[in-house]
Symmetry: C2
Subunit: 414 residues, 2 copies
Amino acid sequence: MSQTNQRIDGKRLWDSLMGFAEIGATPKGGVRRLTLTDVDRRGREKFRTECEGAGLTVRVDEIGNMFARRPGRDPSRPPVLLGSHLDSQPSGGKFDGALGVIAGLEVMRSLNDLGIVTEAPVELINWTDEEGSRFGHSLMGSGLWAGVYTRDKVYALTDTEGVTVEAALDGIGYHGPEPAKPFPADAYFELHIEQGPILEREQKQIGIVTGAQAQVWYDAVVTGQDSHAGTTPPSARKDALVCAARIIDLVDRMMRARGEDGRGTVGQLLVSPNSRNVIPGEVRFSVEFRHPDDAELDRLDAQFPREAGFLARDCGVKLELTQLFKIPAQPFDPACVDLVRQASARLGYPAREIVSGAGHDAVYVARHVPTAMIFTPCKDGLSHNEAESIEPEEAEAGCQVLFEAVLARANRVL
Amino acid sequence: MSQTNQRIDGKRLWDSLMGFAEIGATPKGGVRRLTLTDVDRRGREKFRTECEGAGLTVRVDEIGNMFARRPGRDPSRPPVLLGSHLDSQPSGGKFDGALGVIAGLEVMRSLNDLGIVTEAPVELINWTDEEGSRFGHSLMGSGLWAGVYTRDKVYALTDTEGVTVEAALDGIGYHGPEPAKPFPADAYFELHIEQGPILEREQKQIGIVTGAQAQVWYDAVVTGQDSHAGTTPPSARKDALVCAARIIDLVDRMMRARGEDGRGTVGQLLVSPNSRNVIPGEVRFSVEFRHPDDAELDRLDAQFPREAGFLARDCGVKLELTQLFKIPAQPFDPACVDLVRQASARLGYPAREIVSGAGHDAVYVARHVPTAMIFTPCKDGLSHNEAESIEPEEAEAGCQVLFEAVLARANRVL
């Protein structure tokens, strides 16, 4: 039987996706499955039951990450990992995260159906709290696992009710015994919806994700002088909002000067005193830039404070700029990426390379394990929204590529 | 005795200003005397007592405006009016409004001291609720008097506790019997602090106010599409905040193109969803332009929607612009203005002509009665602020000009 005749079951995958979407379903067709809540627990129980039904052995680590193992022929080989997350945004969709986990389950079932014994073991992962919606800290499970955060710090985080992460883990019975830390693994594959418009616009069925963007985030405070809008002539104005407006325009122009790979956004802005006939004396806002290339992000990070400072000086106001963080680009493993590329080509799916603009568990896992991601298109690029939507054939295509990449990696000749 | 030897009493004026500032005094040196509250009642009672002590006859109209009359030699002549308001902003200063009323009281006392019988009667007015801070409707007393508003509408306005204007008038005993409507009057003079930086910057002691600016106010709503800041490439963005920023810059440039007479302000702005890593889908903001010249304001009003529309089109977003109101410039009476000019020159005070940028009771009174205003400088142009401050000699100079203009008008040969 040639590899391309080994097909996952698209209908079973879709039914399973819809089954999980009932857990925390919202009236508008979305999902509200906040991490470590009772709804999350129900999702986890269903996941555990279905994994065990597929013959997998489930273990849970100290942050609630779930690992479901299918043995390989050679137990000494490090496993091939795949997965994503089952938690959702407060008004989330059915597919963000869930697709990668449920498609992983379908990969396991198909391996069973096809009677395949892989050389290496295969492990399916449900990472805890990718979204960060409840405790304000995204990529919590994979971040702790990857050593980005410390356990004490993560355990002490609280939700708006004052419940700590540790108490929430105990509360749903997912405070597992295993330490959350990297173990020998051969590769990690994660299927996810794009959460952007590029694949749909270009009518591609598969995004071959080559890595994640570098990012730099700032807080900006412009201080002028609030004064009467009617009595203050142009020469006496120190309008903080006019300066902020010019900086917003600068961010947009700097982004566009980098072509389609650039990202530059002011998402949050607050005006003070925010009264119709008072010239604003203070404006606080966020600025972020992203770019796939570290060198280009360095240039943005050098250019922006300088040019924003010129604008503030010209407006006669004071600008305070604080860099919140700067993280380098995370390239994925070329060999793993190539398995995704080969599978897409073999299957005849229209595909393109793409850099992930959003954060994903894969970005932290990639610090320790050769990693690749697969993107599927989503309708209108919409995500973090109850209207988030993909087509069954898109889920099937993504799952089929995942299946073939995992199988090829698990059977590779060492 | 030549007219320039008739001097008001600067010390008495200042002591009286400080005395009234004790009513509603705040710890930071300001005044909180919200209209039609018990604090306002105490200010009114003191005003009534001091007027009656100066031999004036006080009457109150149906909106609480207070008129204190000093008889003239010829009772058939229409009176010369002067005044301002005793109510304050929630965190107001000692001089906004109070200066014009207390200086009027000093004019009356000086006329008494100097044994002057004017040809025409002179009436000192305390207008109700100039500030609009409590019922959300500025220039209420003078506006009802001038027929800008109807009594039923004004009476039904409520404060944040649900108290109506009518109930508040009854509550402090200032629901007077006189109808609030124009009566024959020869002139109206109002002394006020500038509430802007121009006189202080140019070291002028007197502002000869030639009129009030024309104004046009808009509400703007920019609608784009909120989307993920990391995954949405430049070509797919519909960033409402970038468009709003360009419109804010446009407002500022249009203002500056008119030189020192132009005013253009975005004071209020709200971003939605206002989240760091989400491209803003909607921005709502206020826009206002002011100019002394109606024709120039018409040009601003024609140019702005057109050019803002171009910016929105270029950004790929929708702009809805609603004109809230447009009011023409209110020129003051040339003969009355000239009396202010002559008095300043005679007294040797450095003076300049100025157009009022703020709203004042005089602007509505001017629709029915020949009107002029006198401005005095205020420290750093600061007003609507507890730190509002003027010098005793500035108050005295303004009061002396007021005295001479009122006296000249009341004694003019008909």
